[in-house]
Structure formats: C-alpha cells, structure tokens
C-alpha cells in the first residue's frame, strides 16, 4: 500500500499534475488498493484544516499583502539602503537587508519574493547587475520569509507536532540572521569579481533620522507580533489578526498609501493564496493518515532506534533525506507528512525540539530554490524576465552557502535554542 501511495504520487507529480491533486490522487489509489474505507478521505481532509490555530495562515498572508499594498517595501528599502547601500554590491546588500526586515512581517517566502523582491530585482537590473544574478539573489534571500517569524511553515509545524512549544517562532531569528550574513558574503565576493559598485548617495544625519522615522511603524509590527506572543498577551492566531488590523491602520492612517478601493483586490489575492496553501495542507493530512495506519511511523522509529545513531548522525541523515525530498516536494506537504514521523524520533534521541524544527524548516524551504519545483525561482525569473535555466547557474554559490549554514545549524543547537531560552521557552 505504501508503495502504491509513493509511486502514484511521484508519477502524478512527474506528469505535471499540481501538488495538491497529486497528493489526493495518490491517497485515493492507496485507499482503494488497501481496501480502506473511502469515506475516511473526506474525514481526514477536514480534520487537517479544521484547526483554529491554522487561522494564523490567512491572517499572516493578509498582513503581508496589506503592508505591500501600503508601499511598505519602499520605506523598508530606503531604511536598509542607508546602512549598506554605499558598500560594494550595495544594491545587492540592500536587497538582502530589506527582505530580512520584510521577513519579520511576512510569513511566506513567496510574499518576500513577490513584494520587496520584485522591486529590488528591477532596481538591480537598472543599476547594471546581471538580471539572472538579481533574480537568483532575491530567490535565495526570500527563503528567510518562513524562517524569520512570523512564519506559516512554523504554524503548520506546530500543528503537525503539537508537543513543541511556541519558542519555535522565536527560534528562527538567529538562524535567519546567519543566513542573511552568508548571503551578504556571497554577494560581496561576486560584486568584487564583477565590479558591482556601491550606491553613490550622500546622506546627512537628518536623512538618517527621517528614513528611520518613516520605517518605524513598519518595524514595530514584528515586535508587536513576537512581543505579544512571548509575553503571553496573545496566542499566535490572535497576534496574527491584530497584525492584520495594525497593517491596515499603518497603511491607511500612518503612511496613507493604502486606499479603500485597494482592499477587495488585496483580500481576493490573500484568499487565493490561502486556498492554494490550505488545499495542500488538507490533502497532505489525508496522505499522512494512510502512512499512519500502515504503521510506517512506528516501524521507521523502531528501525532508526535500533540503528543506535548518534543525534548528530541522525540530523545529518534527516538533512540528506529532506534535501532529496525538497527537490520535488514543497515545504508544506513535507512538513505535514514527514514531521509527525521524524520529530518524535529526534525527540527520543535527545535532540532539542526547537533545533530540529529549525533544521527541518530551513532545509525544506531551501527546496523552494531548487528546480524543478522551486516556487521562488518561478516568481523571480518572471519578474527578471530571464529563463530559469540561466538563473540556476547564478544560484549555485547561494545554495552551497545555505547548505553550509544548514550544517552549522545541525552542529550548533545554541543557534536555534539560545534566543527562545532568553524568553523563557525550553
């Protein structure tokens, strides 16, 4: 039955059937083959998304869309540019820093790439950067969206593995900064080689003050979300809806760039993105149910425990497995299907839940910049107007750097656990 499940899923995916339908089709095939009750399929589809905590997904999506609609990207861009714009490869560094800030507002990588990422790609092209380089850099940095909180992936991770504590949301901050620094290092070395210059702008102290003052309302949002959750004032779902109305307030009253006629469009776009995400979550839940009743988790657990792997050997093995999976599978089905199986094993081996969560999320999100199913590549190549194949060449240095960060995150738990510890999680 498991063979039917995986082979039919792979066949459907390879043929080009969209991910959600491939997962659902494979589930039906396995149910029919294994003589299981068909009625279980709708049952687990619903139980997969009939979860109040999932409400944070549409709300975080809506928050990011409201902020983008309120031309927040430009405000953050100017704020970031004043710190790093004058260095070699200045626009590249500005791109990295802007997306890093924006990741504190958005919870998905695609929002980062389509919002500030799209603007930065056009600016970099105009400034003489190779279009495929601008697209590759943006795709690579956009993986910070779900790593730096708020994060849709983390919300879904916490539902897939309920034993984890909310510290997971905070745990992504330090690893996110490490990734941003690694990307900046690559940008620096390539800018030196290709002679990408810094921006030639003279800023006075009052310019700094004005840029910072303008960016402040936007920078407050991550503090509001995380502070609210960490202090116990809000649940993540409550924090996400407060963020929606704060974004509306900031866009309408503070920046005054958001107008009421823009709202239906913003809502429609957010609703479509929500449906695209949640239909995959629902189908993955049914898919995962077939795995569970075939006792795959139990047998895999027994097998791995028998191997008597050291925690680090297990982590590295999981990384290899997920990298292979990530090439073909989007992060969300990966989380819904694999985390309920792998996270308890990691826990039993003595690996910190938060560290394991971060390693899994960083790893699966990296899959979004590996073809053939790289959602981020698609968005950035369309914006930059370069064919995917030429872009991939420019991606390699960034991918190697991210794999290096992944190994560092696997070996040094403190990178993921130190900050949550400060806030009293652990």
């Amino acid at each position: 039955m498991i063979a039917v499940l995986f082979i039919s899923c792979m066949a459907l995916l390879a043929l080009g059937v969209p991910v959600a339908f491939s997962l659902g089709g494979a589930t039906i095939a396995a149910i029919v083959y294994g003589h299981l009750p068909l009625i279980a399929l709708p049952k687990y589809l619903f139980s997969g998304i009939d979860v109040f905590a999932l409400m944070a997904v549409p709300f975080f999506i809506l928050t990011a869309e409201l902020m983008t609609g309120g031309s927040l990207s430009e405000v953050l861009l100017r704020f970031a540019s004043q710190f790093v714009g004058r260095f070699r490869g200045g626009l590249g560094h500005t791109n990295i820093l802007t997306i890093t800030f924006f990741s504190g507002i958005s919870g998905s990588a695609l929002a980062d790439a389509a919002g500030p990422g799209a603007i930065m790609i056009r600016m970099m092209k105009k400034d003489g950067y190779l279009a495929e380089y601008a697209a590759a850099l943006t795709a690579a940095v956009s993986i910070l969206g779900p790593i730096i909180p708020p994060s849709i992936s983390m919300i879904i991770y916490a539902i897939a593995y309920p034993d984890i504590n909310l510290g997971l949301l905070i745990a992504g901050i330090v690893p996110g900064i490490v990734i941003a620094i690694a990307m900046a290092a690559i940008n620096h070395s390539i800018s030196v080689r290709r002679n990408y210059r810094g921006l030639n702008e003279r800023l006075s102290a009052s310019d700094y003050l004005r840029n910072t003052w303008r960016a402040l309302p936007a920078l407050v949002l991550p503090v509001l979300i995380l502070g609210g959750i960490a202090s116990g004032a809000f649940t993540p779902t409550e924090a996400s809806v407060v963020a929606v109305f704060y974004a509306l307030f900031a866009g309408r009253v503070i920046y005054r760039t958001l107008t009421w006629p823009m709202l239906p469009s913003i809502l429609a776009r957010s609703a479509l993105m929500t449906a695209a995400v949640l239909i995959i979550v629902a189908m993955s839940a049914a898919f995962a149910w077939v795995l569970t009743i075939s006792r795959v988790p139990q047998e895999l657990t027994a097998f791995i425990v028998d191997l008597k792997l050291s925690p680090i050997a297990f982590l590295l093995a999981v990384n290899l497995l997920l990298l292979a999976f990530g090439i073909f599978i989007e992060p969300l089905p990966g989380i819904v299907v694999l985390v309920p199986i792998l996270a308890p094993i990691a826990h039993a081996l003595g690996i910190n839940d938060l560290q394991f969560g971060i390693v899994v999320i960083v790893n699966l999100t990296m899959g979004m910049i590996t073809p053939p199913v790289g959602g981020l590549l698609f968005v950035t190549s369309v914006v930059a107007k370069v064919p995917l194949t030429r872009m991939v060449r420019e991606l390699w240095p960034f991918m190697w750097a991210q794999i290096a960060v992944l190994i560092v995150l696997s070996f040094i738990p403190a990178l993921s656990t130190w900050l949550p510890g400060v806030f009293g999680y652990l």
Binding site: A14, L15, A20, I49, T68, E238, A275, I280
Partner: protein
C-alpha cells in the same frame, strides 16, 4: 501572455459573472473571518468576555474559503506543479496537458461524489457550539469540487492547447508596482 476568454457571447458572459461571483464570495469569507476574530480579541481585552461561536464559525469560514478558492486558484495557474516534462517534450505538451486535465477532472468528480456522501452521512450530527448540522460545513467539499469542475471545463481549451491561464494584475507577481 494574452487572455483568451471562451468564445461565444453567452458562455463568455456567464464566465465573467461566474468569476466575479466566486471572487466576491472569497473576499466576503476572508473579511468576515478577520473581523470576527479581531472583534473577539478586542472583546476579550475590553470586557473579559468573548463570543463562544466565533471560533467555530471562523474555522468553518476558513474551510469554505479553502474549497471555494481552489477552483479560482486553478484558473489562475496558482497550483504548484512540475512543468519540466512539458518543457522537455514540447511536441507532446498538449497531449500531456490533456492527460493532466483528464486526471484532475476525474479526481474532482470523485471528490465531489465522496464529499456529497460524507455530508449526507453526517447530516444528523450537530456542531458543538451552534448546534447546526455539521453537514453545512462538510457541504464545502462537494460545493468546492463542483466549482473546480466548472472552472476546469471553462479553461479547458486554452489550457490544453497553449497552457494558458487567466492573467491579471491581481494575481501576477510581475504586476507588483514599482
């Protein structure tokens, strides 16, 4: 990419209304969810009370949003899939897309049928807070997949022939303003 609407006056007009109605429904559902949940947070802080049914109703709104939105996502080409095979075998691409189309159509028909059965079977159960039949919630599945089938049929020709989806500023990363 040019937009091709189904030709033939009446069908095209129906399609335009259909698309607009589906979009309006999604906007209403998402707006209602945000307003309800936010009102409840505000109430909890201001009065220490919260409305019991909000959690239930907003959850059900999210379920309806998911299934009613899936068809419109499909229409815009928003479901992620692997196109490598079509790109490698351009001659076979229309045949491949016809196969994908048939498979997805069959899947949707099956889901609509099993979803309708599930909704009927569970009709006598009621929800914990509001005590309405859970069938009203589970109806989202057959309703959503019937919408998916309608969207599939309306997009069939341009998709299979040229892999065309609806392209508009609302759901296009390239349209993000500078």
């Amino acid at each position: 990419m040019p937009i091709e609407r189904p030709s033939g006056g009446r069908l095209a007009r129906f399609d335009a209304v259909f698309l607009r109605a589906n979009r309006a429904l999604l906007i209403l559902l998402l707006a209602a969810m945000a307003l309800m949940v936010f009102a409840n947070v505000a109430l909890r802080y201001l009065t220490n009370h919260s409305i019991l049914w909000v959690e239930e109703v907003s959850r059900y709104a999210m379920i309806w949003l998911t299934f009613l939105g899936a068809g419109l996502v499909l229409r815009h080409g928003g479901h992620i899939g692997i196109d490598t095979l079509q790109e490698r075998l351009p001659k076979w691409a229309p045949t491949l897309r016809a196969m994908i189309f048939a498979l997805v159509l069959g899947f949707c028909a099956f889901m609509a049928w099993i979803g309708a059965r599930y909704a009927t079977l569970t009709w006598n159960q009621t929800t914990p807070v509001l005590q309405i039949p859970v069938g009203f919630v589970y109806l989202a599945l057959p309703a959503g997949f019937v919408l998916l089938i309608m969207h599939l049929l309306l997009m069939a020709a341009p998709y299979v022939r040229r892999s065309e989806f609806i392209v508009d500023a609302e759901f296009d990363p390239d349209a993000a303003k500078l």
